[in-house]
Structures are given as C-alpha cells and as structure tokens.
C-alpha cells in the first residue's frame, strides 16, 4: 500500500511485471536466435575447420584409399584457394569462393580404416571426438560406409561417403546424416544388363563368385535380376570371404558347372586376384555350351584394371566415372589431378573430390555448419559440371541420380592408365529408380546429438 501511495498504480505494477516476464522469458529467444549454431558437434570456433578423412590405406581396397587421399588433399587445396581451382569454376550452381568454407581455412585429419568396418568406425570416432572433425568422408567399402554413417547419425556429424556401391548404403541402411555421390549395384545392373544381352545373347548360364559382405550380396542380387530379366539362368552363386587371396578352390567348381559366364562380384585386390586366377585357369580360352566362356566384372576400377594387367582386356563392367570423358568437368579434374600427381585420377578419387566440394558448397549455401541446415541444403540439390551430367542429390535416400558408364577392358592400351574404354554412357533417366524398393528410414536430422 505504501508503494501505491508513492504513485505506483496497480496498472503500473502489472505493466512492470509483464515487461519483466517478457524481458527475461522472450528476449533470450530473440537474442539467441541461431544459438543452435553453438550447440552441435565440433562447431568450428577458430580460423580453421577440420574434415576427417577415413581411408582404407591398407587392406583389400588400399589402392582406392591412396587415390582418394590424393583427391581429398587436392579438393581441400582448391577450397583454400590453392592450385588451379579444379572443379570450383565448373560446378554450377556454386556458392564456393576459394576462401575456405565460410571464410575458415580447411584442415584435415586422416585415419587408416584398413578396409575393416570396426577399424573405420573406431577411426571416425577418434577423428570426431579427439580431432574435432566437422564432417567425415572416405571409405572404399560399403561395410565401412554403413558402419561409419550409422556412427555419424548417432553423433550428429555429416558423412559424405567415398566409394561405396552397395544398394544398402542408401537403401535399407540409409541415414539422414549420410550422403552418397557414387552409383550403386542396382544402377550397375540397369546399365550393364542390356549390353550383356546385346553382346552375349539371351541364352546364357551365369556363375557368380561374390564377396561375402553387404556390397557383394547386393551386387549379386542386382546382377541376377538384370541377367535373369534377359533370359539368362543362374548356375550357382557362391560367397567368398573378403580378402581370400587364393580363390582357386572357388574357381575349380566353375569349370564343370555348366556355366558359360563367370560374374565376379569382387572389388579391389579381391578382384585383381580372382580375375587373374580365373584367367590362369584358362577360363577365357574355354568353350561351354557351344559358346565362348565369358567373364563379367560388374564394378570396374581403373586402378584394379591396372593391377590385373592384360587380364582385363575385353571384359565388360560399369564405372561411376572415367578420366577420359570429354565434358568440361572431367577434363578440368583430370588435368588438375594429373598436374598434381602425374597420373590421371580414378573413379574413387573423383567421387572423393566431388563429395568434398559438394559438402563445402552446401555449407556455403546454408550459411552455417549446423548439420540439419547443411542436410537441407544437400537434399534435393541439383548441380552440374562434375563429370556426370546434371545430377540430383535425391532427398528421399541421399543417393545421387546421374549418368553412369558401361566400360570394357581396352584391347589396345596406349599407356598403363589407358585400360578401360567407355562403351556407353547410361543417362540419368535410365538409372533413376524408385527409392522405396530398398526400404530403409533416413531417421531424424534433429535434435542434433552432441558428440562429446
């Protein structure tokens, strides 16, 4: 009553009270608009931003890992404004400036995944928790990619997959925080099927040797579907352990199985070994069912082709990209990589490079490193100039929809790198499929978990 007597009316008290409530309750919401930017895993606060490169530098896919590392280092140099700028000037649309990402210089840490899923996961954990990596990228095995993208979903860190070809990566095991530029086994089947029918006819019996893990299973499934649709029969589908080295005990049963085509669902060193040993068994000199015995390698790599030497000649397969494509993006990347390392890039290097640029571009467009905003910037984003024509980062499964290549081992190579010929470029419309066929659930982008 005393206060009221001094001139403070009841109305004034209520007004002051309301202002206090507004001041203490609402104002923080206004002033901390964007405060989520401080509350996510490894939000970069200094002048640099760190990317974690999770690479198979040893093990069955070591060659791919080594080439990926070169590409990542090149991409990071280009993002920081060093070198010739590579594909930055060719990417359309682009928000890249050549001054790092959001003005921060890009740094990197690496970890050798040894081509093992558990080691890859442990390496990614270390790079996120100890080294403060804002984004993880790399890998040349789908087992690794699936393990690492699961981890990244748990920790709220974006994973830009390197070479991974299993349908599961963006199918049943897809994750909101995982993105894949590389094509998949299903798309290999779509591309390769018609060519195989055209070259080898519709009356064939195929024998599959398949790497016994997620990629091999989906590759086998996709190739079976593609070849059986042509009218081919499947004689046998045999699983072989990853890194088996000696495949002779799996190759001997092929000889008298009644098959006239051997489909090697192997990659990396496994591919080099199984193909080399199949040739040693005289499979390409055989006849079966009155036809010439053929070998098919659904997923080719020029590094692998180089390791397999002349054994690769005339063999059909598919590829995500090849250095001798003549679009401006491919020419620019091949030139930039060649100038830096003295050899043309592999498809593993290409996808690694492109993924790094796409992440940086998405951050620039989002204006923040906050993962849910970067995810929004990547989902449904359409771009061109990276060597595969107009490409869509599909929102439903985070799989890039783009053209792919059917390739064949070069019969007359002019250099050690000139091992594959592009037989056909299968366009994006043909390789686009319904994402629902592989199921899976991307999961949420928010709330963003805190990694430490």
């Amino acid at each position: 009553m005393t206060l009221l007597k001094r001139g403070l009316s009841r109305r004034r008290v209520l007004q002051t009270g309301m202002a206090g409530i507004i001041g203490t309750g609402i104002a923080p919401m206004v002033f901390t608009k964007g405060a989520w930017a401080q509350e996510f895993c490894n939000n970069p606060t200094g002048d640099t931003v760190t990317i974690g490169l999770n690479l198979p530098l040893t093990g069955a896919y070591a060659e791919e890992g080594a080439d990926e590392q070169k590409a990542y280092e090149l991409a990071i140099a280009h993002l920081n404004g060093e070198g010739d700028g590579g594909l930055i000037s060719v990417l359309t649309p682009t928000a890249l400036t050549g001054k790092g990402i959001l003005g921060k210089k890009v740094a990197f840490v690496t970890s050798d995944s040894q081509t093992k899923s558990d080691v890859a996961r442990a390496g990614a954990t270390r790079m996120i928790e100890r080294d403060g990596a804002i984004m993880i990228t790399g890998g040349s095995s789908s087992g690794e990619a699936i393990a690492v993208q699961g981890l990244c979903q748990e920790l709220g860190v974006i994973f830009m997959a390197g070479l991974t070809h299993s349908n599961d990566t963006t199918g049943k095991d897809k994750r909101r925080y995982g993105f894949r530029h590389f094509f998949n086994a299903y798309q290999s089947g779509i591309g390769l099927g018609p060519i195989l029918g055209q070259e080898y006819g519709t009356d064939r019996r195929a024998y599959h040797l398949t790497a016994d893990y997620t990629w091999g299973w989906t590759q086998e499934e996709s190739m079976k579907a593609a070849t059986e649709a042509l009218g081919w029969q499947t004689a046998e589908a045999v699983r072989t352990p990853l890194g088996a080295a000696d495949f002779s005990q799996y190759l001997t049963p092929v000889l008298n199985s009644g098959a006239d085509v051997l489909i090697l669902n192997h990659y990396g060193n496994d591919m080099v070994n199984s193909l080399t040993q199949a040739i040693q068994f005289g499979m390409r000199d055989r006849e079966a069912n009155g036809k010439t015995f053929e070998i098919v390698v659904p997923l080719f790599s020029e590094l692998m082709a180089k390791g397999a030497g002349e054994n690769i000649k005339g063999i059909f397969g598919t590829s995500n990209w090849h250095w001798n494509l003549q679009d401006p993006g491919s020419i620019a990347f091949t030139k930039s990589f060649g100038a830096a390392y003295g050899s043309p890039p592999s498809q593993a290097a290409h996808t690694a490079y492109v993924q790094t640029l796409l992440y940086a571009d998405a951050v620039e467009r989002a204006g923040t490193f906050y993962p849910p905003e970067v995810i929004k910037a990547l989902e449904g984003h359409e771009f061109d100039g990276m060597g595969n024509g107009r490409t869509l980062y599909r929102a439903e499964d985070h799989q890039c929809m783009k053209s792919i290549l059917v390739v064949r081992g070069n019969e007359n190579p002019t250099s050690e790198y000139d091992v594959l010929n592009v037989v056909q470029e299968v366009d994006r419309e043909a390789t686009t499929y319904d994402p629902a066929i592989f199921g899976g659930d991307l999961g949420p982008a928010e709330p963003v978990p805190l990694c430490a």
């Binding site: 000696d246 005990q249 049963p253 008298n256 080399t276 040693q280 005289g282 030497g309």
Partner: protein
C-alpha cells in the same frame, strides 16, 4: 561328377603343397632350435619381395621427357626404354620373362644371410627363455620386417607375371586320355606343386642322407649328448635356421605369380602355417607335410557348393575345426613326439 571331385582333389594337393612348404621351415626351426618362430611368415614375405626387387632391377628404364607431346592429363609425355633389353638383347627379354624363377638365384643367398643374422643377432638370446617370450620377440621382428618393406615398396600388391610359356591351363584330362577341356588346371600351379615336392624332398634327403643332416637329427633328439661328442651343434642349428629361411623365401618367390605380394602377405600365411605345424605335431617334418596336404584337401572340398549347401560357411572354418578335432583326439598332433612343449 568325377571331373569335379578330381579337380577339387588336385586343387587340394596344390594348396596342400603350398601349406606344407611354408610350414616346413617353421617346424624345422622348432625341431632344431626349439623356437616358435612367428617371424617365419615375414621370411616368406621377404622371399616374395626378392622376386619383386629382381624384376624391378630387370625392368629398369631410361625415361626421357618429350616436351613436344602432352599426356591426356596435361603432363609432358614420358618416353620409356627398357635398359636390360637394350644391354642384353633377346637374352635380356628372356630374363625379364623368367624373372620369377630366375630371382631364386638372388633369393637363396639373401635369405641365408637374413636367416643366419636373425638367429645369431636376436633369436639365440631367447633359447632358454619361455616360449611366450620367443613368440613375442619373433612377432615383433615380423612387424619390423613388414614396416621396412612397406616403407620401400608401398602398401599395395605388386603383380609378378609368370613366364609366358607357363601361363594358361594344362589339359590334364587330355593327358589322361579323357575328353579335351574337361579337366584343366593352371600350369603355374602345377609348377608350384612340383617345385614344392622337389624342395620338400630335398630337405628330407639333406637331413636323411648327409652327415650334416645326421648330426642335426642327432642334435634334435639329444642336443647335450651331441655337444659332449665335441660337435659344434649350435653352428649346425644356425645353418638350419638359415636353411629354413631359404625354404620360406623360395616358397614366397614362386608364389608371387599366384598372389601379388604386399607387405602383409607373410601374416596371411603365418596363422595358417602355424595351424599346419600344430596339427602335424610340433617339430615333426613328416607331420607338417601330412598336415599341409590334409588341410589343403579338406579346405578345397569344403569350398564346393554341395558341401557349403549342407554346412554354410564351412569353407571359412574347416581348417580350424579340423585342428580342434585333431588336437582333442591327438593332443600332440598327427606325428607329435612326447615331451615337446610339454615341460
């Protein structure tokens, strides 16, 4: 069906010969020196890299840069000319073609020196130490050898082509008077099988029919008594370690066309050869050979689709499964002697 079983059996013999050859040196060292040598796989790997080194020397090139031409990736074109062919003409070309078998010439002295240096430099200090310590030190040596090779040759496999005359498959069915192209088998695998047979036979003959071998066998049976006769048994055992290194090395050389070697190739074979030695009986040479063939044949048959259909995944565990069963029934292995590793 006969062809299928015959081929699988042949494959088993081929695999078994490789396993026996690799395990032979391991069991030789254990039988003579009583050392469980976990660096044996590394010796196999070093042998394989002798072949790589030899080929690299034979295929050295002169590189001239042609600034008037550019490669598709924008670099001045490198024009390469082989050096050995330029020096030796056709003989040089033959030497390059046969680089793998020819590299045995340099592998034998290199591996002998490596083996003797290893034994005199490090392993002899561990003779009286527990087996666990021997395993640790030799395993450490294996890792060091791996890393050294990795630093010089890189982590990736380096393909070693077999001689052109020995490529492709031999028509064994036709040799046996059967229909052509029914039973065919890679020529180089047959060469490896014969090579393994010759080496194994030579080691047995050396131990059985030479005075040196007789002394070594006596030393294996009773080292102290042989020493009391005034014979320097330690020196002979050192030479045996060198011999084991040579056997492992040449086994590695001849395996390179089948499996491009990388720094890790020895570790891939170490576990396998150790299982072969244990199944055969520690220190038993006939045991290692018998177990090598037994496991090779079983592994080959376990990989048949008919067998895998009955027991999925059996091809990947058969060797270890058989090892468990044999050790349960015969704790000393197939040819194990009483008292070995039982103290």
């Amino acid at each position: 069906m006969f062809e299928v079983i015959f081929l699988q059996f042949l494959n088993g013999l081929d695999k078994g010969a490789a396993y026996a050859l690799i395990a032979l040196g391991l069991t030789l060292v254990f039988g003579t020196l009583g050392v469980v040598n976990f660096a044996h796989g590394a010796l196999f790997m070093l042998g394989a890299f002798c072949a790589v080194l030899f080929r690299q020397l034979l295929t050295m090139e002169t590189v001239t840069i042609d600034p008037t031409q550019l490669s598709p990736w924008g670099q001045p074109l490198e024009v390469r000319a082989p050096l050995v062919q330029a020096w030796f003409g056709d003989f040089g070309a033959v030497l390059v073609n046969y680089s793998v078998p020819a590299s045995i010439i340099i592998t034998i002295p290199i591996m002998l020196v490596v083996g003797i240096a290893l034994e005199r430099g490090i392993i002899k200090h561990f003779y009286k130490r527990p087996h666990a310590e021997q395993i640790l030190v030799t395993f450490g040596l294996a890792i060091v050898a791996q890393e050294v090779i990795k630093s010089f040759f890189g982590p990736n496999p380096i393909p070693q082509p077999m001689p052109t005359d020995l490529r492709g498959a031999a028509d064994i069915g036709a040799w046996l008077g059967m229909q052509a192209n029914v039973i065919t088998y890679p020529i180089w695998r047959l060469v490896y099988f014969l090579f393994a047979g010759v080496i194994i036979g030579a080691v047995f003959a050396f131990l059985q029919f030479t005075t040196f071998g007789m002394v070594v066998r006596a030393g294996m049976a009773d080292r102290e008594t042989v020493g009391l006769l005034g014979i320097n048994i330690d020196r002979r055992f050192t030479i045996m370690f060198g011999l084991a290194a040579v056997v492992a090395g040449v086994a590695g050389v001849m395996y390179t066309p089948l499996l491009p070697p990388n720094y890790h190739i020895g570790m891939d074979f170490l576990v396998l050869s150790f299982v072969v030695v244990v199944v055969g009986g520690m220190g038993s040479l006939p045991g290692a050979v018998a177990a090598g063939f037994l496991l090779g044949i079983l592994q080959s048959f376990a990989s048949m689709t008919q067998v895998k259909a009955l027991i999925p995944g059996i091809d990947q565990i058969i060797i270890y499964l058989v090892a468990v069963v044999i050790l349960l029934v015969l704790p000393r292995g197939l040819f194990g002697r009483r008292g070995v590793m039982e103290a």
